[in-house]
């Protein structure tokens, strides 16, 4: 499951943001008649088509896997937190219809209606992202039921959906998708531009994608801070693990880097910034921050993993926010220096790494609970034996899917660089 999700989230992130880039390019074409923008639209459209298909099939696998792998969990939880999934299903449905209309609708309907179908693809993908993250947030901040003798009663799915964690997680996740994909796409086109390939096209692609990416990157640290405060309130054990904070205390320090040593309950090689953790968690340098010592050790998440993952995410977030500010500065000056573009080329994978790291923080940080404070992960697992085969089957499947997709996208980009562009798939012409 964790693996399927780790795979799915990358495709989902791309699938829910690329349509916006595509619509932006399409809009520029319709307004200005810019042929480059038309080519961009069609290039991105094919990328969206490929990714949507892969996102759709890997998502289908997930919806089955919930039951295949976590029957104990779903038996109790399905009725409570199913609501966002039912809305997600609706949103996907709209998306699937809209994508069919957009991909094959060239010349078959009014141009602006056609443009709007492309936008609907993006909007419904975005909405489904919000819904599914709300479902995940429910596992962090369970709500909407009373737990009596191992049974859920008084179920209220609306309260479950709008649980205390949905807002910060959704906001943060959607920004993450925009920023990761914006930087990845922008970086690829920056490198192609530097290599002198189709300069007009690549510069425009770079600007469109990076506008989204940079704006999201600048907003992200604020959203992340908001998320951190909510975690401090809802899941103090997770926050303590993120920060390697073993002992409860006031004026708690924030560590830069470092490896928590669980044996001796200290932080090794970290640079402490006194009081900053108290400030980050509670807006007050002297506030008390609960440490891991308040929890029995069998309720600790794997501290090292969570801490390292969190550091990776925040480090990347800081770097990307800085790059985002530079991007707007250079754009106002009207010129992007070559070193800056090369730097962005190096930043291509950063956002994706941060997304994976962020999920490790939320998911591993919630352990040993699958529903925080209610149900332990070990009680939810399927009784079916031989799960290793399941794991390997999907590993092989996904790795080959991922490789094929990357290979296809590469061919796509290369063909678009080539002005004559060897014949590309039918339908869209």
């Amino acid at each position: 499951m964790a693996f399927s999700l780790g795979f799915h989230i990358i495709f989902a992130a791309i699938g829910m943001t690329m349509p916006f880039f595509m619509s932006a390019a399409h809009w520029l074409y319709l307004k200005r008649g810019d042929e480059d923008c038309l080519r961009l639209t069609k290039m991105w459209m094919k990328g969206v088509a490929i990714l949507f298909a892969v996102g759709a099939v890997s998502g289908t696998v997930l919806s089955f896997e919930l039951g295949l792998l976590w029957p104990g969990f779903m038996r109790h939880a399905g009725a409570i937190f199913g609501m966002p999934f039912s809305w997600e299903g609706t949103a996907f449905f709209l998306e699937a219809v809209a994508i069919g209309l957009f991909l094959y609708g060239w010349g078959r309907m009014n141009r602006w209606v056609h443009w709007a179908t492309g936008l609907v693809v993006g909007l419904s993908g975005f909405a489904s992202g919000v819904f599914v993250v709300a479902a995940n947030a429910w596992m962090n901040a369970p709500a909407g039921f009373d737990w009596v003798d191992g049974q859920a009663i008084n179920v209220d799915p609306v309260a479950a959906m709008f649980n205390r964690a949905w807002l910060h997680q959704s906001l943060h996740m959607q920004l993450a998708a925009l920023q990761a994909v914006g930087f990845a796409v922008g970086g690829i086109h920056a490198v192609l531009w530097l290599r002198g390939r189709a300069p007009g096209l690549n510069l425009k692609a770079f600007k469109i994608a990076m506008t989204f990416g940079a704006a999201a990157a600048i907003a992200q640290p604020f959203a992340g801070h908001f998320a951190g405060q909510r975690v401090a309130e809802l899941q103090p054990a997770k926050l303590a693990a993120m920060e390697g904070h073993f002992v409860t205390g006031t004026r708690a320090p924030l560590y830069i880097g470092g490896i928590p040593d669980v044996e001796s309950r200290t932080m090794r090689w970290g640079v402490p910034l006194p009081g900053l953790l108290s400030f980050v968690a509670h807006d007050d340098f002297d506030a008390e921050v609960i440490g891991l010592d308040r929890f029995p050790e069998e309720d600790w998440p794997p501290v090292v993993v969570v801490h390292v993952a969190f550091q990776i995410m925040v480090a990347i977030g800081t770097v990307m926010a800085a790059l985002g500010v530079l991007f707007f500065l250079f754009w106002r000056k009207g010129r992007f220096p070559r070193w800056f573009l090369w730097l962005l080329g190096g930043a291509i994978p950063l956002g994706m790494i941060a997304i994976e790291a962020g999920w490790v923080v939320t998911e591993v940080g919630r352990q040993p609970w699958i529903i925080y404070g209610i149900m332990r992960t070990e009680d939810s697992v399927t009784p079916v034996p031989g799960m290793v085969y399941h794991f390997w089957l999907f590993l092989v499947l996904y790795v080959s899917l991922a490789l094929t997709t990357v290979w296809l996208l590469r061919r796509q980009i290369m063909a678009a660089q080539d002005e004559r562009g060897r014949s590309s798939g039918g339908g869209a012409s």
Partner: protein
């Protein structure tokens, strides 16, 4: 509330079989030898399926969502007992969707990779169709046993045997039949249309033959189909009606009524599905300990209310947009 949900499950199932099923059938048709029509056939199938297959696939996801939110006990029982066929199904779904899309959108359409995509697309379509049938057949055999201890009893026996396999073959034949019928009107090429007519005719015979096989194989089951069908006129009536409609269908094919033909074929398959559902309703699954009924295994009322609300509001968006999709792509001129 529960009745509304049962209605949505039934309707989604019907639409999945009629729409998604024909997409699988198209894949299987591409496996059959086509000689020099191969390229043209590929083009027509791409154009026919391309705009709609993802939407068609959503009906399955809708069923899964309704089950796991509205009937979690039924959902988890199924997923545990039928773990292996579900995995096989998923494998097929992933490969099928990926191969179809990749074939269409690969920027460089060289013969080698195209052949691989087509082959994968066809094979996984066949594979998925058969497993769908196996799963459908396993629901109500009364072998699923949540208490079973052995690996064989718990995870293999529920879907093992000639009967599920026969249903799998039957389902694949139905899908090919539907695809053949639908595709006739998608092309203006006389040779290709003739080929689709021939495929549909052969599949028609196979549907009847494999239907007989299903009945025969069911004699070894706990409850045999012939006995069950004869119990009420509504049950055997659907089957007889579906069979009689074949005459009307081919009259309509001969007159080249594109849409009428499609509707009749869809009606036939709908009748077969209804006959099957009537056998078991309102039970979703029959375990060794007895049936699990939709009425008894439903989620709490508050959840059902929200689910129904989501489905109704969703329908208000989905049906108009589906209608628009159909109007744009299926009501106009057929392909070359």
């Amino acid at each position: 509330m529960i009745d509304v949900l049962i209605f949505f499950i039934g309707a989604s199932l019907l639409l999945y079989v009629l729409l998604g099923g024909s997409d699988y059938g198209a894949g299987i048709i591409e496996l059959l030898p086509a000689g020099r029509l191969r390229e043209k056939q590929k083009h027509v199938i791409n154009e026919a399926m391309g705009p709609v297959w993802e939407a068609n696939h959503m009906w399955l996801i809708l069923i899964v969502v309704i089950l796991f939110m509205g009937f979690p006990v039924i959902f988890t029982t199924l997923m545990v007992a039928l773990h292996l066929p579900m995995l096989a199904l998923l494998l097929g779904i992933v490969v099928r969707g990926a191969a179809f899309t990749f074939r269409h959108y690969d920027a460089i359409q060289d013969a080698g990779s195209q052949r691989v995509y087509t082959w994968l697309f066809g094979l996984s379509s066949l594979w998925t169709a058969v497993w769908l049938g196996i799963i459908a057949a396993s629901l109500n055999r009364g072998i699923i046993d949540p208490e079973a201890a052995g690996i064989w009893e718990a995870y293999v026996a529920p879907w093992w045997g000639p009967y599920p396999l026969a249903v799998g073959v039957f389902v694949a034949c139905i899908f090919v039949f539907l695809a053949g019928i639908y595709l006739i009107a998608e092309t203006t090429d006389e040779g290709l249309a003739r080929r689709f007519r021939r495929v549909a005719a052969v599949a028609n015979c196979l549907v009847i033959a494999s239907g007989g096989l299903v009945f025969a194989a069911s004699l070894g089951e706990r409850e045999s189909l012939p006995a069950a069908f004869l119990e009420s006129p509504a049950r055997w009536g659907t089957v007889v009606l579906a069979t009689l409609l074949f005459v009307v269908l081919w009259a309509s094919v001969a007159r080249r009524r594109g849409w009428l033909t499609r509707v009749i074929a869809g009606g036939q398959v709908g009748l077969i599905l209804a006959g099957w559902l009537l056998l078991y309703a309102p039970n979703a699954v029959t375990t060794a300990a007895g049936p699990l009924s939709f009425y008894e295994q439903a989620a709490p009322e508050a959840t059902l209310r929200q689910l129904v609300l989501a489905l109704l509001i969703g329908s208000a968006f989905i049906f108009p947009s589906l209608w628009f999709l159909l109007r744009v792509f299926k009501m106009g001129r057929p392909e070359r």
